[in-house]
């Protein structure tokens, strides 16, 4: 019998495998609404991009939503409300419940680096999904930051006259489009890695559905 285990975990305080809700309902709900919003906005956005590409390529039509520019714009300007409202609820609840501070901080560069190297070697443990590792913390905070940038640059494109400060912050109308695109590309990259990670640790998908 290990004395260390006995001192660390008093027997009375640990009932056997009590299911603990790791992700509260509001996190799961806002997560999946965000998935819907991002999916609609990204695929309709690709269609809008194709009408006047910034770079020397177009998105394959079959991956886009809307059928034509006008249809894509209808989807885009409907789903933007979902993304923005849902994002505000997510941020507000994270701040009010203290979840942001609890789950994402402290975030130390040394730990990010250490966990990143461990992950590349396949040695990053996932036995406790109740805690984010440092790479996860950075990635999720990064995704939130990218969503904020994509919303702000989108506002600058949509209301370039009414929001002069935002327009100038983005470097003018044309540049706001580029920022909007790059933020989208960053989110697409995050989604790609995120989905691969979920495939590698399928329990995390259950966690985001059932909460435990």
């Amino acid at each position: 019998m290990s004395t260390a285990a006995a001192t660390a975990e008093p027997v009375l305080a640990s009932p056997p495998r009590r299911p603990v809700t790791v992700q509260p309902a509001w996190v799961r709900l806002t997560h999946w609404l965000n998935v819907l919003g991002v999916l609609v906005l990204m695929t309709s956005g690709w269609r809008i991009y194709n009408a006047s590409p910034i770079f020397d390529f177009k998105f394959p039509k079959d991956l886009t939503l809307g059928g034509w520019l006008g249809g894509a714009l209808l989807w885009h300007f409907a789903a933007m409300w979902l993304l923005a409202a849902n994002g505000l609820v997510y941020l507000a609840l994270n701040l009010l419940t203290g979840r942001l501070r609890r789950r994402f901080f402290p975030l130390r560069p040394r730990e990010v680096l250490g966990d990143f190297v461990a992950a590349l070697r396949g040695r990053l443990a996932h036995d406790d999904l109740a805690h984010y590792n440092a790479v996860q913390k950075l990635a999720y905070l990064g995704a939130v930051a990218l969503l904020v940038v994509v919303v702000l640059s989108g506002l600058a494109v949509w209301k370039s006259v009414q929001l002069p400060l935002l327009r100038e912050l983005m470097g003018g109308f044309d540049n706001a489009r580029v920022v909007h695109f790059l933020a989208m590309a960053g989110i697409a990259f995050f989604v790609l890695v995120h989905v691969v990670m979920v495939a590698l640790v399928p329990r995390s998908l259950l966690l985001m559905i059932r909460g435990r």
Partner: protein
């Protein structure tokens, strides 16, 4: 609808085939179908998910309702004193792009001598205007950015009559909601009254110091740097003030009616 995943369509190839077949059946009549035009795409099918594809009319109806609601939000956001940025002449885009729903050589030819601008609706003075009469009114010039709904933009130099002055001159009811436009190229559109009265809204007769050329809308266009390109009608032959929503050529097909920044 099932909860969408990150990944693209999870339909089996057979389901995809069936859905595409159904989509083609629905599309068979050649009449206008908003966001189905140009073919329903797989991305779209995936999103409609469990919903029957024949419900797309309802989806279209809902999206149009949201778009009309967006019009109200944008009207509320619109500050009638906020000016669009202006630029030095050195930044004018040359050549300034031609853009319409037809090619440049199909632009209408309007005879300037016999031309009359018709004025109607909720206005006190409905006499038509000749180009000479319009040219005799106080003129204004602007170098502003034209932004197309497609995303590109170009800087141009326009000159003409401040539209607010013109509306007052014809005794327009400026408490009315809309100003509608009919054009020589069968184009039509309409704008909100606050934008019509905006200090940068011009009834344009000149481009870059010259008579407005045919390709840019001779004999006149309405220039609004606070609106997207499709809201700026060219070759205007008649304008009217009204409280009944007049819609527009592109707007009736799905482009947002407010269409401005």
């Amino acid at each position: 609808m099932p909860t969408p995943r990150h990944a693209a369509p999870t339909l089996s190839p057979r389901d995809q085939h069936e859905l595409l077949k159904e989509a083609r059946r629905v599309l068979a009549p050649p009449q206008r179908r908003l966001f189905l035009r140009g073919g329903m795409t797989l991305g779209g099918l995936a999103l409609l998910g469990g919903c029957s594809i024949t419900n797309s009319d309802e989806a279209e109806h809902l999206l149009m309702k949201i778009s009309r609601w967006n019009d109200s939000v944008q009207g509320w956001l619109f500050d009638p004193t906020r000016l669009a940025p202006t630029y030095p002449a050195s930044m004018i885009t040359r050549p300034f792009p031609f853009n319409a729903y037809y090619s440049e050589d199909e632009a209408p030819e309007v005879d300037g001598d016999s031309y009359r601008l018709g004025v109607g609706g909720l206005v006190q003075r409905k006499e038509p205007w000749t180009l000479a009469q319009l040219g005799a009114l106080p003129q204004q010039e602007q170098i502003t950015r034209h932004i197309c709904v497609e995303g590109w933009s170009a800087i141009g130099r326009w000159g003409g009559v401040p539209f607010a002055d013109f509306l007052r001159r014809i005794g327009a009811d400026t408490t009315a909601r809309y100003v509608g436009f009919k054009c020589a190229d069968k184009y039509y559109t309409s704008i909100d009254m606050p934008t019509a009265l905006h200090p940068q809204t011009l009834l344009v007769l000149q481009y870059d110091g010259q008579t407005l050329p045919r390709s840019y809308g001779f004999p006149m266009k309405l220039r609004m740097p606070t609106k997207l390109g499709y809201k700026n009608p060219k070759h205007i032959v008649e304008l009217y003030v009204t409280n009944d929503y007049p819609g527009g050529y592109w707007e009736d097909q799905g482009y947002n009616w407010f269409g401005g920044s």
